[in-house]
């Protein structure tokens, strides 16, 4: 019974969302608003169950770590945002999170996004015995990355052999990259579409097995 009601509810909401493909209608809007409400409610429950209760309330109630009062007070300062006279206090938790977050992220960003990427780009173009498409690939990696970087460099006009030609090659590389990302996104969405259609035809209508 639980399964049957569950499948019917899920199927009706699936159809309600797809009805938007025809035109916007009250059923779609109901489902749209419902998902916002349930998602927020779900986030509240999960935040309590996975974070606030086990990592704050429980250790404090057991007297294990009184220093946890500091993040609790900082967190509660967010609420002052709703009271204009003391709204300035909400800046403290934001400052704490942003400042420390940026400090923690700085060396890791430098490593992961700058140094490792540069290191991985500086590769030998020609490797003896490698097939031609691998060699061509290495050339594309080295010069393509450089060309795309030139395209993003706006401090100099894109003219001349280095900046002009570099930025022209760069935009080609970027477009191919965007095309690949676009293709991947399409495949991902089509997979989801197949999943939903399969659910409707198999679990709900039992037309396919």
């Amino acid at each position: 019974m639980y399964e049957t009601i569950g499948i019917w509810v899920a199927a009706l909401f699936t159809l309600a969302i797809y009805s938007f493909l025809y035109k916007e209608n009250p059923l779609y809007r109901l489902a749209e608003h419902l998902v916002v409400g349930t998602s927020l409610g779900y986030s509240m429950v999960i935040s309590w169950q996975r974070m606030i209760y086990p990592r704050l309330v429980l250790p404090l109630s057991r007297g294990e770590d009184w220093l946890l009062i500091i993040p609790a007070v900082l967190g509660l300062m967010y609420v002052t945002r709703f009271f204009p006279k003391i709204a300035w206090m909400s800046r403290y938790p934001i400052a704490f999170l942003l400042g420390t977050g940026m400090g923690v992220a700085f060396p890791y960003d430098m490593q992961a996004l700058v140094l490792r990427q540069t290191q991985a780009t500086l590769i030998p173009i020609y490797t003896p015995g490698a097939p031609w498409h691998e060699i061509l690939g290495s050339i594309v990696i080295v010069f393509g990355t450089l060309a795309a970087l030139i395209y993003f460099f706006f401090s100099k006009p894109h003219k001349g052999l280095f900046f002009g030609t570099g930025s022209k090659v760069g935009i080609w590389i970027i477009m191919i990259g965007f095309g690949a990302t676009f293709g991947f996104t399409v495949m991902g969405r089509i997979s989801l579409l197949i999943g939903r259609v399969q659910f409707l035809l198999s679990d709900w209508l039992h037309l396919i097995h």
Binding site: F13, G37, G41, L97, T100, G177, A180, G195
Partner: protein, 206 residues
């Protein structure tokens, strides 16, 4: 001042592998997510305020606001309810039902619907008739056909070309973007830590 001190301390602790600096890092990793979680109160409060105002004023389509407010506050109540919908104490309750039979199907369907809009976006991009738009679409077609069995029907060259595009030009573009993002993040981090960028203060209390 808080951002400056916090930021500088966290940068220094990375370069000083001492027990105290490790303790500072451990405290941050346990405190940070707790403080961040409290921000949810702002989100819930803000959504409640907006929709309660609509309901009170009976503004256009106010009834839909009930569909936001009611499940938002009922979900925590459902989570507290003991017992299962199957009878007994074990098994899924109302909370699980709302999550797996309402939230997940709606979200999955919404994302799957993007397949249709992406197809229409592709059509518009083709109509742009520029060489670069065509390059984008050709790359996308090769990558898509490389992922599905039908691509093999045209010969191995098609999936191989798709894979080659993914491994080399795509990687070059991604790497250039990541380097740009990396430099941007480093600059933004320093601007926030040293107080040059203060947009995040949001004007509260002004």
């Amino acid at each position: 001042m808080i951002a400056l001190v916090g930021g500088v301390i966290m940068i220094i602790q990375y370069f000083v592998p001492h027990r105290i600096s490790q303790d500072v890092f451990n405290y941050y990793t346990s405190w940070g997510p707790i403080v961040a979680t409290f921000a949810l109160i702002l989100g819930v409060g803000s959504v409640t305020r907006v929709h309660m105002y609509k309901i009170r004023m009976k503004s256009t389509n106010w009834a839909y606001s009930l569909a936001v407010i009611l499940p938002m506050f009922l979900m925590p109540v459902f989570a507290l309810l003991p017992g299962s919908l199957l009878g007994g104490t074990d098994g899924p309750g109302f909370f699980d039902f709302m999550y797996s039979r309402v939230q997940i199907p709606i979200q999955a369907t919404m994302f799957s619907m993007l397949a249709f809009y992406i197809a229409s976006a592709a059509f518009r991009a083709f109509r742009a008739k520029s060489l670069l738009a065509t390059v984008l679409l050709v790359a996308a077609v090769f990558v898509m056909l490389a992922q599905v069995p039908i691509g093999d029907l045209a010969g191995r060259w098609l999936p191989n070309t798709g894979q080659w595009i993914l491994r080399f030009p795509n990687l070059a573009a991604k790497r250039a973007i990541e380097l740009g993002v990396g430099f941007g993040m480093l600059a933004t981090s320093l601007k926030i830590i040293f107080g040059v960028e203060r947009g995040w203060l949001g004007g509260a209390g002004e």
